[in-house]
């Protein structure tokens, strides 16, 4: 699983943002792995990779506002034998530097770690230019790349540590910060490619990623109380490789699936889950919830999530809706499993 040996007490995760936790964990890893280098494109403070830069100034490189070059340089540094952590906003990592990530890093299968901050609509009032609602769709199609969307700061810490066990490119998409904590501790068995069951259930399964995981958990509790519904919540923190087993099991157990993500409904978590369900050939009621195929509104992050119905209210609404949805059940399930 994770690298082991890197020990730090749980930071006060209620006070530290995902980015700050990332910065702290990277500093810890920097002690352990002298070949880690940090790269920034004039966002050292915003992405918190500057914390690494302050601790290891000789291993930190700023490239100014030049993301394409930063990703290409990252590829070169990896070829020299170093382990680059490349940080910028998700919108720029996936789009401005897109081809450099794909061709220089993923095609050559290099040991670069991309920490894409301000994912989804987390940069709220900054507006659509700074929202990343397409990044998962884009980078999911890059062969060799592992794609992780941690649910909170503690999972970010786990993901950043675990990516050191991968000798290849990893894309970790985190928020701007201010995202509330989902986990009580880091000790829940984080494993790349393995979904985490956050809430048990047998009537319907909510599959969420990133910031929507907390809302899914909160909704599941409310639905249990108010509607007597048993809602399974899966935290699909790894978008690629997707946990096929957990998805198929959810189809088998609950026959109703809804996905939630802070991303365009095309190409992200929902599409990845739909692929698995469709290939399984099993009947199942299914909805994808996310940002509709349109450009985002401006607003505070929580308001944008609410507007797009991927917050707690949105999860409750969509789960109630899917409970009334008809689908053709496969009566011969048992003999096909």
């Amino acid at each position: 699983m994770s690298s082991g040996g890197v020990t730090w007490n749980v930071y006060d995760a209620d006070k530290l943002t995902q980015r700050e936790i990332y910065g702290l964990v990277l500093c810890e890893l920097g002690e352990r792995y002298p070949k880690i280098v940090g790269l920034s494109a004039d966002l050292a403070q915003s992405t918190k990779i500057g914390m690494f830069g302050e601790k290891f100034p000789e291993r930190f490189f700023n490239f100014g506002i030049a993301e394409q070059n930063m990703f290409g340089v990252g590829a070169g540094l990896a070829k020299a034998g170093l382990i680059p952590f490349i940080s910028t906003f998700s919108a720029f990592a996936s789009m401005r530097a897109c081809e450099f990530l794909r061709t220089d890093i993923c095609y050559q299968n290099l040991n670069c770690k991309i920490i894409a901050t301000h994912g989804g609509t987390s940069f709220g009032p900054a507006g659509t230019t700074h929202h990343a609602t397409e990044d998962l769709s884009i980078v999911r199609a890059f062969a060799n790349l592992i794609v992780i969307v941690p649910a909170d700061a503690l999972e970010t810490a786990n993901a950043v540590r675990a990516c050191m066990d991968i000798n290849g490119p990893v894309y970790i998409r985190i928020g701007r910060g201010f995202e509330p904590r989902v986990y009580e501790s880091e000790d829940y068995g984080f494993q790349i490619g393995k979904a985490v069951e956050m809430h048990p259930g047998t009537d319907v399964t909510v599959i969420a990623t990133g910031v929507t995981v907390l809302h899914a958990v909160q909704a599941a509790k409310i639905l249990k109380e108010d509607d007597k519904l048993s809602v399974r919540v899966l935290n699909m923190h790894t978008i690629k490789p997707i946990d096929r087993e957990a998805i198929i099991k959810a189809v088998l157990d609950t026959r109703r699936i809804v996905t939630f993500e802070d991303h365009n409904v095309i190409g992200g978590l929902g599409t990845a889950v739909a692929d698995v369900i469709a290939e399984s050939g099993k009947g199942c009621a299914f909805y994808k919830s996310g940002i509709p195929d349109e450009y985002t509104i401006i607003g505070y992050p929580e308001d944008i999530l609410h507007y797009n119905k991927v917050d707690t209210d949105g999860v409750i609404e969509k789960v109630r809706e899917i409970m009334g949805k008809e689908f053709e059940a496969d009566e011969d399930w048992e003999d096909e499993v």
């Binding site: 990703f71 340089v73 990252g74 590829a75 070169g76 540094l77 020299a80 450099f100 220089d104 095609y107």
Partner: protein, 277 residues
């Protein structure tokens, strides 16, 4: 490492052989980026037979000098040089462009021994070369990075992003070349998108720019020798060349950026190589 007359004579023979092989591969593969491969022959011949510290039998030797062909479409020119150096048997080039082959027009570092970086899309090689140079310095390694760019490639913004960063980090272990053959797919560089004053641009970006005749082995050696001693900034050799150099019916013709040759044209092309250098 001054160059001798004897060395120049030998390099000229090698350059002729490289050109013959480029023509042969172009003939049997159906087509290659032959024009820009012929224009860079003296640059890569100088590097591979006089300057690069490499071990062809040990392509992943940690302390080797790195060579990045930023103008990745020169893949056929690079591939024949690697074959002649012994990285792989030259017969393998018979598969060039074939289905399932290790050899396509743009070389894949995970398939072709001796290729340090996969390139092909323009403007990617120099950023990677900057990363290699930064990495070597951080790891306190003596190896150097050599990067050959195309002139049309210098339309790409990422070349200038990389140029800024190489100067900012004072990468004197990086040596760039621009194969200044003056032609790109749609015509002369100055007509498609003017590069001049080209030397001034590199100078303004903080590089020591050395304009030379890119087909003259003595000038190439002088420029490289200068760069090896130059401290505190990266050096770029602006190598004035002729696209299609050595093949009379191709020289200075943009149409020969990419092309195929039938048996008759292969013979005709080779016949004219006599005094290519």
């Amino acid at each position: 490492m001054a160059i001798t007359d004897q060395e120049i004579a030998e390099l000229k023979q090698l350059a002729r052989k490289v050109r013959e092989d480029i023509i042969d591969v172009t003939g049997w593969s159906g087509g290659t980026h032959i024009g820009g491969s012929l224009s860079m022959v003296e640059i890569v011949t100088s590097l591979y037979w006089k300057y690069l510290r490499i071990q062809p039998h040990n392509p992943h030797w940690e302390d080797r000098d790195r060579f990045v062909l930023s103008k990745g479409h020169g893949g056929v020119g690079h591939a024949v040089v690697l074959a002649l150096k012994g990285y792989f048997p030259p017969e393998q080039l018979r598969d060039f462009n074939k289905s399932g082959s290790a050899f396509g027009m743009h070389l894949d570092c995970n398939k072709v021994p001796g290729v340090d970086c996969s390139t092909g899309s323009m403007g990617h090689g120099l950023p990677m070369a900057v990363g290699l140079s930064l990495g070597a310095r951080l790891l306190k390694k003596e190896w150097r990075t050599y990067c050959v760019m195309g002139d049309g490639e210098c339309d790409e913004g990422s070349i200038w992003e990389a140029a800024m960063s190489a100067a900012h980090y004072k990468l004197d272990n990086l040596l760039g070349f621009v194969d200044r053959n003056g032609l790109m797919i749609d015509g002369p560089t100055e007509k498609v998108m003017a590069l001049e004053p080209f030397v001034d641009k590199w100078t303004a970006f903080g590089w020591k720019a050395l304009p030379i005749d890119g087909h003259d082995f003595r000038q190439l050696a002088q420029a490289i020798d200068f760069a090896l001693e130059h401290k505190g900034q990266p050096v770029v050799v602006i190598a004035k060349t002729v696209k299609g150099k050595g093949v009379e019916f191709m020289e200075n013709k943009a149409a020969w950026h990419y092309g195929g040759l039938n048996a008759e044209l292969v013979e005709k092309a080779k016949r004219g190589l006599g005094d290519a250098s």
